[in-house]
């Protein structure tokens, strides 16, 4: 069925809204009382997270079990099972949400399904043991709105994730989907572009270039074939926001690409996506097929003269392809090596055609900006950074998950209020933002309001939004080395500073963590880092020294300890550790000696044992086996 006018779209929206209204209303109301079929609730819905994280914890089996159980009890016609995208609270996954009472069950196992159905769905009694328990008060919280994890969040790019079924375009349409496109097609494209500019939206992929200006430049180059490219090559380790958007709300990306196409006079869309994201690929394919079926992609869209279609291109695992010129080369079937700009892709991109590249999260903001107006969007955030930002909060933190907060939120609010603080009551040491291109920030940075400028000023960067929390057990020299290993692996090899310079830096860092550091190494690192920053060809090389520079700036004493005193205070660098047995505490049980893979521990039973430092491989096995705390590590 083709939708050939905005009126037709509106009537489909009305129709689709009927199915979605229970969910919409329950989102607004607060009800602590459980609904249930026996209490007279006419219709119920079970939302079961279908994101990659929850799928890894058997959420697919949970869905199967729900369907089978409802069938068996003959209530399948009264209860819908919906599989939306990521709810964000990955720490507590798999998540199951019951509508209309908005009950949010956490860490659900396939075996829990029967109880949820009999007790809650039929009987109207919540299953207390599966409710979220507030770590502060110890109280059960059944509605996610009242959880600290969600309270400070504001979901714009993630507005539909965890809410609609991403495999049904009608649910997207019911949430004002494709309305921004329909309205735009009735307006002059320059006006639409002016709205995007006025909103202050900036690129969410890392650099933060103003989206409206990027579109304006792309519009200037006239050519019969122009391309809109969605950069979905999310290669930053520890960042999964783009994937979640594509899994949970693929239509928002498609709609935004079309609006961009209309603004810059392009008719071709390409989505460049990592092959490692099978679920996101699948959901995008379904969304594209449905959009074509509804006539939203193709020719004479919504009865106008605007034509647009989208194809998917696969990446093959190369971090550098997040850089737009490298990405374009990869789409052309070549090695993903970046080239010097200018010419910018806007002038000469995919096979020489003018090309505009935007990141997934940037695009996901576009339709809402147009439906709610640029003034609404620019009222959120800080002076120079408008709107919200999605972060993948992970590492040593209690609430790992995907969060979206207004720009200007402080790191402290994110880590302590939303993230619930550092795991296992350990002491906070650093937070790494911006992935391999970013830096490590410390306690003293916790109260700066986050935006593009403030993070850069603090020596890190916004990046795509990875945010990894580290505690006292993390060695900052090792962390810098970890990121550099990544960069060395991913350097495309085209320019010398990045190819050779980073390798030299890695060698120095390896030397330091192996206890062979020389006094001049720290200074050498600093000089080398600055040279690479100034001379590398593309963004990858220019930002690759950031993890080293920021740890040097904030944790210089740790470097000095490694080099001068041969001490790793986090006990991470094996070569710098000495294991010994306290003769007073040792009971002579021989557990350590029996567990030692290097046969480095000797002694007589019931007498203190000793470790031979020559043989010891510092694996820590003795430490984990000793029940008396007799193993000492210095």
């Amino acid at each position: 069925m083709k939708i050939n006018s905005s009126d037709a779209l509106a009537s489909i929206r009305q129709e689709a809204l009927k199915a979605l209204s229970v969910r919409e209303q329950s989102n607004e109301t607060v009800s602590e009382e459980a609904a249930g079929l026996e209490k007279g609730t006419p219709r119920m819905q079970i939302l079961c997270c279908g994101g990659t994280g929850c799928k890894a914890s058997e959420s697919a089996r949970i869905v199967e079990n729900f369907r089978a159980s409802l069938q068996e009890k003959g209530i399948a016609d009264k209860v819908d099972v919906v599989v939306p995208g990521c709810f964000g609270f990955c720490e507590k996954g798999p998540i199951v949400k019951i509508i209309p009472d908005n009950t949010f069950y956490t860490s659900v196992r396939p075996a829990d399904v029967e109880e949820i159905v009999t007790s809650h769905i039929i009987g109207g009694r919540k299953v207390e043991r599966l409710l979220y328990k507030d770590p502060g008060t110890g109280e059960h919280i059944s509605d996610s709105k009242h959880m600290n994890f969600y309270r400070k969040q504001m979901r714009i790019a993630l507005r539909n994730c965890g809410f609609i079924n991403p495999e049904d375009i009608r649910e997207y349409i019911a949430r004002d989907g494709y309305k921004a496109l329909a309205d735009s097609l009735q307006r002059d494209s320059l006006e639409v572009l002016a709205d995007i500019k006025a909103s202050g939206l900036r690129g969410r992929g890392g650099a933060g270039f103003p989206t409206g200006i990027k579109w304006e430049i792309a519009r200037k180059f006239d050519a019969p074939d122009k391309y809109v490219v969605c950069n979905a090559d999310e290669g930053d380790p520890g960042a999964f926001m783009d994937r979640s958007i594509m899994e949970g709300d693929p239509n928002s990306v498609i709609e935004a690409m079309m609006i961009c196409g209309y603004c810059i006079n392009a008719n071709h869309g390409l989505i460049y996506i990592r092959a490692e994201y099978p679920l996101a690929v699948e959901r995008l394919k379904i969304a594209i097929a449905q959009a074509r079926e509804y006539g939203l992609l193709g020719e004479h869209i919504l009865g106008t003269d605007f034509n647009f279609d989208i194809e998917i291109r696969y990446g093959a695992g190369a971090f550098v392809c997040g850089e737009e010129t490298a990405l374009i080369h990869s789409m052309e079937g070549k090695r993903g090596e970046p080239t010097l700009k200018p010419p910018f892709p806007a002038e000469s991109g995919y096979f020489g055609h003018p090309t505009n590249v935007n990141n997934v999260e940037t695009l996901a903001n576009v339709p809402v900006i147009l439906t709610k107006g640029p003034a609404w969007f620019s009222s959120i955030g800080t002076e120079k950074s408008k709107g919200t930002k999605v972060f993948a909060l992970a590492g040593k933190i209690n609430n790992v998950g995907l969060i979206e907060v207004p720009m200007g939120t402080t790191l402290r609010e994110i880590i302590y209020d939303i993230g619930g603080g550092v795991k296992n009551g350990k002491k906070f040491k650093a937070v790494q933002t911006g992935g391999p291109s970013g830096g490590c920030l410390t306690e003293k940075h916790l109260d700066i309001p986050i935006d593009y400028e403030s993070l850069a000023a603090a020596g890190s960067m916004m990046g795509s939004g990875g945010m990894i929390v580290m505690d006292e057990d993390d060695c900052m020299v090792s962390v810098a080395k970890f990121f550099l290993e990544f960069t060395v692996d991913e350097s495309c090899g085209k320019c010398t500073p990045c190819r050779i310079g980073n390798r030299r830096m890695l060698e120095i860092l390896t030397r330091i963590t192996d206890g062979r550091g020389k006094p001049e190494d720290i200074e050498k690192l600093e000089t080398l880092a600055k040279v690479i920053k100034d001379t590398a060809l593309c963004g990858l090389g220019q930002t690759s020294p950031n993890p080293v520079l920021s740890t040097l700036a904030n944790f210089r004493e740790e470097y000095i300890e490694h080099v001068k005193d041969h001490v790793c205070r986090a006990h991470k660098c094996k070569a710098l550790l000495t294991y010994s047995i306290d003769p007073v505490l040792c009971k002579g049980c021989s557990a350590c000696a029996r567990g030692c893979p290097a046969e480095a521990i000797v002694g007589e039973v019931r007498k203190p044992f000793v470790i031979n430092p020559e043989k010891c491989i510092r694996c820590g096995m003795c430490l984990s086996r000793c029940k008396f705390g007799a193993i000492k590590v210095i």
Binding site: S57, G93, G238, G315, E332, G395, V400, G435, I468, F483
Partner: protein, 159 residues
Amino acid sequence: MAELKISCEAIRQVEETCEKFHNDPGELISILHEVQGRLGYLPEPVQRVIADKLGIPAQKVYGVVTFYSFFTMTPKGRIPISVCLGTACYVRGADKLLEEFKRVLGIEVGETTPDGKFSLDCLRCVGACGLAPVATIGEKVYGRLNPSDIRKIVDEIPD
């Protein structure tokens, strides 16, 4: 490279894949994805077939195959194991996990066990950071792993 025998049938399939993409060099990466999906890897003779079909030098194909980490020129095990070395997994002890996998399987990263059952690789972020540290074994994602679990998990996986 050692002499490799590729069946005529396999070569025919590779040629068909190229034709499906109109022998377009711009589609090289899509072609490589499809061929590797079918054969499991991209040995040199296969790369030569593709180069011939697309009318480009074999070094171009080789250059692309070796550039991207997703493509491999050695056959993987029947059950590929990948340990996530994303940042979230790293700070939660993925390095120790990897060491234990190497020890238990007796192979290094990028290698396959002599019986062809397991191969070991690293990857950067599965996106299941809530379950860190994570490894994928076959199609399945294993989360919240402890080095002491590895032996049991590996032993219990049927061939």
